[in-house]
Point group: C2
Chain length 356, copies 2
């Protein structure tokens, strides 16, 4: 172990200048400070930039092999192809890599970890790499995992309401630009008028997203499925350790800046009660149960944005299935959906160093 | 039969000044002109107003019993309580009432009709009243009904993406006002900022709908269900003649002006193929299959608004269930979701008069 003088582990943040990186620096500044040195790494383009971390200015260094010298844990928040190339480089130097990209999530030798659900998995990492899940999976998996632990899950049907920041800074800028074009107009009542107003300004989305919803996220996979939908299914199965779980998913982009929502229809191995489900969700770590429609209480992205937990509401027993539950969940896609989960995994690993 | 000189049936439009009424007048002006006299009726507040119909000005008359003298068919597009009081009055005078409200939909002596799905049901109307379905049910029932006719439906899981005009003119005005407050701002990235900006201007919605999604529509029913969700379940069962169909629904409002969308997970009695489903949907009346993600083709509200059919895309066979299909549907809630379906039912009835 290459710890710094204070005996605390050394951390590298690779992708510190990105949109997930920015939230990560906030989180690292707010959480209990368990790290010794923290190195901020990005591309050569950003070398020399100064970022604020734990109340001080830290200079960004360019990604090269030597940045991992003496590092214990590295968080990667970079594009898939950069992670695919550089995570093994870091791991070969003995660094434990926590990767937020899709590059290794389905690798059987890489655990896919959500600390509230399968923290034990982080200890078995043959390649020295641990993956963090996709933001849409993370918007619901903490709540679903808690229910699974009690009732045993047999089937999931998930429909997402995904925020534009899931497509990075470009997604947010695109929605803002489109909203300025449509605000205060009569647009949205006759065919094609939103499309005409927005023109080619669709940014990372295939269709206008202001005054619209777009049933597509990611790239085209087999048989008409989107990559985002396949991630939700495959990652859910891996995290829950249920390789044969029935999962149906449709991913839809909505004009929300940050916080993914989803409806979840969950079937369990035997009869469930709402009272028991409520008790589980009210005490599950990382979950806020906000569910009293009589008092106007149910989660929306406007409530959940900027917060850590998964918000759960609209909890109902399926009317026609005593083993089914319906829920509506919201989770900040930049916090639990990305930076927070990565930080939590890194903290699990750091505890090993500190405990050692 | 009280036909006019030309031998064509006489129609009354009750609620001609409302938002559904306005679309109905357009439709009546565009469809093949099968009607003789058309009387426009609203509250006493609107008596004397002139509206354009079939290229001419027609004066609105106040609702009273005598407006039904000599009328063959009356379409009601008024609030539930007005329909509950006045539809029986019209029916008692021999008028066939086609009602767009929720007042009679679940009455066992009132058929609930979607002409593409169960046109025969319109002929059996013990009370002289025929109901038209709720807009959310209508956003998906034509496509689902066509698949049911071929494969035999056993279960539905529906999540809606409902437009604000489903809450009438007030819904549209509320979204416009909120959009003006949030357009071009940094709102939507920290907790409560959208709520603070919008303040009390939430109109008919319980929460801000701009830069947000709201998992609530209608009033509170038992066990945490919303009235809108119960309507989708109960009306789907009645229209399809499947009183025991398993239906799970979550209704969510989104910042779209007009056109409801929904994800549908449908299970059938036996194995299905996408090729066969595609063939059915491509030829089903009232359906447009717009489904080629490789070419960027899938429906969005911006495509479907102002058009008559149900748009269907994202058709996939469920990955883990050979008897399941996933789809995404869009339908204009003011056209097929309200005025168009009412007009189609009235035209079915008119054909009886003309055929007689
Ligand atoms: N946005 C989300 O909701 C979300 C959720 C879950 C997971 N993720 C995943 O998290 C990762 C980062 O996403 P993001 O939204 O933060 O992206 P982003 O805003 O585009 O940031 C990308 C980061 O990667 C760095 N980078 C790019 N190319 C590099 C290279 N060749 N060498 C070294 N650094 C390089 C960039 O540094 P420069 O500034 O120097 O270019 C920047 O720090 C992606 O894998 C993404 O899929 C995102
Ligand atoms: N909006 C939708 O997407 C939608 C979809 C499906 C079904 N529906 C149903 O369709 C019906 C009409 O909805 P809407 O959105 O068109 O409502 P709206 O815009 O509020 O219009 C209401 C209409 O009812 C008339 N009316 C109200 N009180 C009356 C009274 N006491 N006597 C006679 N007429 C009266 C109004 O006439 P004045 O102008 O004189 O007040 C107006 O023509 C409702 O039952 C609604 O639930 C609506």
């Amino acid at each position: 172990m290459a710890s710094n003088p204070a005996g605390r582990p050394t951390l590298a943040v690779v992708g510190a200048t990105g949109s997930v990186g920015a939230v990560l620096l906030q989180i690292l500044s707010q959480h209990a400070d368990i790290w010794g040195e923290i190195r901020l790494v990005a591309s050569a383009r950003s070398a020399g930039r100064k970022l604020t971390l734990r109340g001080a200015e830290v200079e960004v260094v360019a990604l090269e092999e030597s940045v991992f010298d003496g590092v214990d844990v590295a968080m990667f928040d970079v594009p898939d192809e950069v992670a695919a190339e550089w995570a093994p480089v870091a791991a070969s130097k003995g660094v434990v890599v926590v990767d937020n990209s899709a590059a290794f999530r389905m690798d059987p030798d890489v655990p896919l970890v959500v600390p509230e659900v399968n923290p034990h998995a982080a200890r078995v990492r043959p390649r020295g790499i641990i993956s963090s899940a996709n933001c849409t999976t993370l918007s619901m998996i903490v709540a679903v995992g808690a229910l699974h632990a009690e009732f045993g899950l047999s089937e999931l049907v998930v429909s997402s309401y995904q925020a534009v920041s899931g497509a990075g800074r470009a997604g947010v800028e695109t929605l803002r630009a489109q909203l300025s074009l449509v605000a205060g107009t009569e647009l949205g009542t006759s065919p094609g008028d939103v499309r005409r107003a927005v023109g080619e300004q669709t940014g990372p989305f295939p269709e206008p997203v202001a005054l619209n919803v777009v049933p597509w996220a990611g790239s085209l996979r087999e048989d008409g499925w989107s990559s985002e939908e396949m991630k939700v299914r495959d990652e859910t199965r891996k995290i829950l350790g249920l390789p044969d779980l029935k999962v149906a998913v449709t991913c839809v982009r909505v004009p929300v800046v940050t916080t993914h929502s989803a409806t979840v229809h969950a079937r369990f191995q035997s009869e469930v009660t709402v009272d028991k489900a409520r008790e589980i969700l009210a005490t599950a770590p990382g979950v806020v149960l906000f569910d009293n429609p009589a008092a106007g209480e149910f989660p929306t992205p406007a409530d959940a944005v900027g917060t850590d937990p998964t918000w759960v509401g609209r909890l109902r027993r399926s009317l026609d299935d005593p083993a089914g539950l319906e829920l509506f969940v919201c989770g900040d896609n930049l916090r639990k959906g990305a930076a927070l989960n990565t930080a939590q995994i890194a903290e699990l690993v750091a505890a090993e160093f500190i405990g050692a």
